[in-house]
């Protein structure tokens, strides 16, 4: 076999999913007690921790904005997160890392109600523990949960998912092997409840006739992720308050 086949004749992908299926999502909120809010997010083999500090006093004076908060995001991959072990220096500040932190920063600058926290800053730290594709989407979803845990005012959740088309089929939630297939990697993030697209990034072109089906699949995926996230948020807050209710 000269070329790896990404979708079998039966319609199954390499890891046994169908084209429109998400990987298993596992969530834990409030994992760090030093941070104001934190979350552990697992999507298939991708594992991420996000921690939120703030709103707090500006750390570098002169950066403060008089009528709103600034949002800062730091994204880091652990050296043990991928199959090849990279030295620590290389994982920090390279192009891919900066791109993701800017993406997360922009997504939440528009969703957090920053005007409620003038002259302060909100830090989002994201650490990848294991990387198996869909890092951008996972980083956004994990940050949403951490921000909710921190009690920061937001207009809505931000839910993100990666989609692509492989061999002319729209495919949802790519893993690492599929990401390397050379197909377009299309990241969609939306505000599921009040409606609206936060970002739509494409690494290469999606054929015009397939674009609509890719977008539709992405939207459905985001909605599905939202229902999973909101269930977890509800469960977490019910758990938190349940002791107060019992007593």
């Amino acid at each position: 076999m000269s070329k790896l086949s990404y979708i079998s004749p039966e319609g199954l992908r390499i890891d046994g999913r169908r084209a429109n299926e998400l990987r298993r999502i596992n969530i834990q909120m409030g994992v760090s007690n030093r941070a104001d809010g934190s979350a552990y997010y697992e999507q298939g083999n991708t594992k991420i921790i996000a921690a939120v500090y703030g709103p707090r006093e500006i750390s570098v004076s002169g950066q403060s904005i008089f009528d709103r908060a600034i949002v800062k995001c730091e994204f880091a991959t652990s050296s043990f997160s991928t199959t090849e072990r990279k030295p620590q220096q290389k994982t920090k500040g390279d192009r891919a890392t900066t791109e993701i932190s800017n993406l997360v920063k922009q997504a939440f600058e528009s969703t957090i109600q920053t005007h409620l926290y003038p002259r302060s800053q909100i830090n989002i730290y994201i650490q990848v523990l294991q990387s198996d594709g869909g890092l951008k989407a996972a980083a956004i979803n994990a940050s949403t949960l951490a921000l909710i845990d921190a009690g920061i005012s937001m207009k809505d959740f931000v839910c993100a998912v990666s989609t692509s088309c492989i061999d002319g089929v729209a495919v949802l939630d790519l893993n690492h092997i599929e990401e390397r297939s050379g197909g377009p990697d299309c990241l969609l993030s939306i505000q599921p409840q009040i409606g609206g697209v936060i970002s739509l990034n494409m690494d290469s072109k999606v054929p015009q006739d397939l674009f609509e089906s890719v977008l539709e699949l992405g939207e459905k995926g985001c909605k599905k992720i939202f229902s999973i996230l909101s269930d977890q948020v509800k469960k977490y807050s019910t758990d938190l308050i349940s002791n107060q209710l019992k007593i």
């Binding site: 104001d36 809010g37 703030g54 709103p55 707090r56 006093e57 908060a69 109600q113 926290y117 003038p118 002259r119 302060s120 909710i148 845990d149 921190a150 009690g151 920061i152 005012s153 937001m154 207009k155 809505d156 959740f157 505000q191 599921p192 409840q193 009040i194 909101s230 948020v233 509800k234 469960k235 807050s237 019910t238 938190l240 308050i241 349940s242 002791n243 107060q244 209710l245 019992k246 007593i247």
Partner: protein, 341 residues
């Protein structure tokens, strides 16, 4: 509207039984009609009920569509919809709706009693970290000069600011006023306020500390606790603190222009009281883990339970014991209700 009526009856009940309110419960719109016996059964169904009845909401959730309500904290308007912006409990007061986040940073109000840490000294003022979105300001004119002398602060005082407080000192203070631009000034102009020394500091979620008349407690076990409304907590030995403040007062009377250095024999804390302090600290940490309100009664309840169970102070935070103590607390409370009935 039905839930609104419900609310009012609840409020009445709360007023008439202050005893019940002082218990660990803070959650307001709670089952006052629910009998203690079937409490557990109710809990099963309540998980989803909390959300379906909109007592708990998540960010982005629509609270009302018609625009009949006014927006309070934690909500915003989008068209005619009123939408929650944080995850937490819904409060309805008449037509005003606000959502209180389960966890969030401290938001100061005038008169609040807080514990803070000095982060910066600038001209005529200290900046104090109080777990809020901005550092609060302690003006040089808002502190008590040693010996309680009343006079204008001169430039000489300004040069000596490090004699009063330096970076990383802990201060016990009160919120003085909130300025027009949102920054907050605090003051220590009272004998009881000032620098905190020789004790234990800890931090909890501010929402777990209830506003009350008193935030300084001398617990019956010989431990002083200051529950700052900002979630910063100070724990120290009563006896030692008494000696220390007596020494400082004496020092200030005699030679108030020199910095006060506390001798070692006054700093000394016995092993016994260290143990009591750590037990109190762990009791508070346990209450925070169970997300229960922290006040002198609840602290002592956990303290006594742990003593009764013959747990060492360090064992208190073992996951297994946390669970055990939390269940014991709830049964104790339910027994109390039965007694009252």
């Amino acid at each position: 509207m039905e839930s609104n009526d419900n609310n009012l009856t609840n409020i009445n009940i709360e007023i008439f039984s202050p005893q019940k309110r002082m218990k660990l419960k803070h959650y307001q719109q709670q089952h006052t009609q629910v009998k203690a016996e079937d409490n557990d059964i109710i809990m099963e169904s309540e998980e989803s009920e909390l959300f379906s009845s909109k007592r708990l909401v998540i960010p982005g959730q629509i609270i009302s569509r018609e625009g009949e309500y006014l927006k309070g904290h934690g909500t915003f308007h989008n068209g005619s919809n009123l939408i929650a912006s944080v995850c937490g409990t819904l409060d309805k007061v008449d037509r005003l709706i606000s959502v209180k986040a389960l966890k969030s940073r401290y938001h100061g109000e005038v008169g609040d009693i807080i514990v803070g840490r000095i982060t910066e000294i600038s001209s005529k003022r200290w900046k104090v970290d109080v777990n809020s979105r901005l550092d609060y300001i302690l003006m040089l004119s808002a502190i008590n000069l040693p010996g309680g002398i009343q006079r204008r602060r001169t430039s000489a005082d300004e040069l000596q600011m490090r004699n009063f407080f330096v970076e990383n000192d802990l201060v016990y203070a009160e919120v003085q006023m909130i300025m027009g631009d949102g920054s907050v000034a605090i003051h220590t102009r009272n004998q009881k306020y000032g620098k905190l020394q020789n004790g234990h500091f800890m931090k909890v979620t501010p929402s777990l500390i209830k506003r009350s008349k008193q935030h300084f407690y001398s617990l019956e076990c010989g431990v002083d606790v200051i529950l700052g409304l900002n979630g910063y907590i100070w724990i120290a030995d009563t006896e030692q603190q008494k000696n220390q403040s007596a020494f400082i007062q004496k020092h200030e009377k005699e030679n108030f222009d020199q910095a006060c250095i506390i001798p070692d024999d006054i700093k000394q804390i016995s092993k016994d009281s260290r143990d009591r302090i750590s037990r109190v600290k762990n009791s508070i940490a346990l209450l925070e883990k169970g997300f229960l309100l922290i006040h002198s009664k609840s602290i002592m309840q956990v303290y006594h339970l742990s003593n009764k169970m013959k747990l060492g102070a360090k064992d208190l935070l073992h996951p297994q014991y946390i669970k055990q103590i939390l269940t014991l607390l709830s049964t104790e409370y339910n027994d109390d209700i039965k007694d009252e009935e």
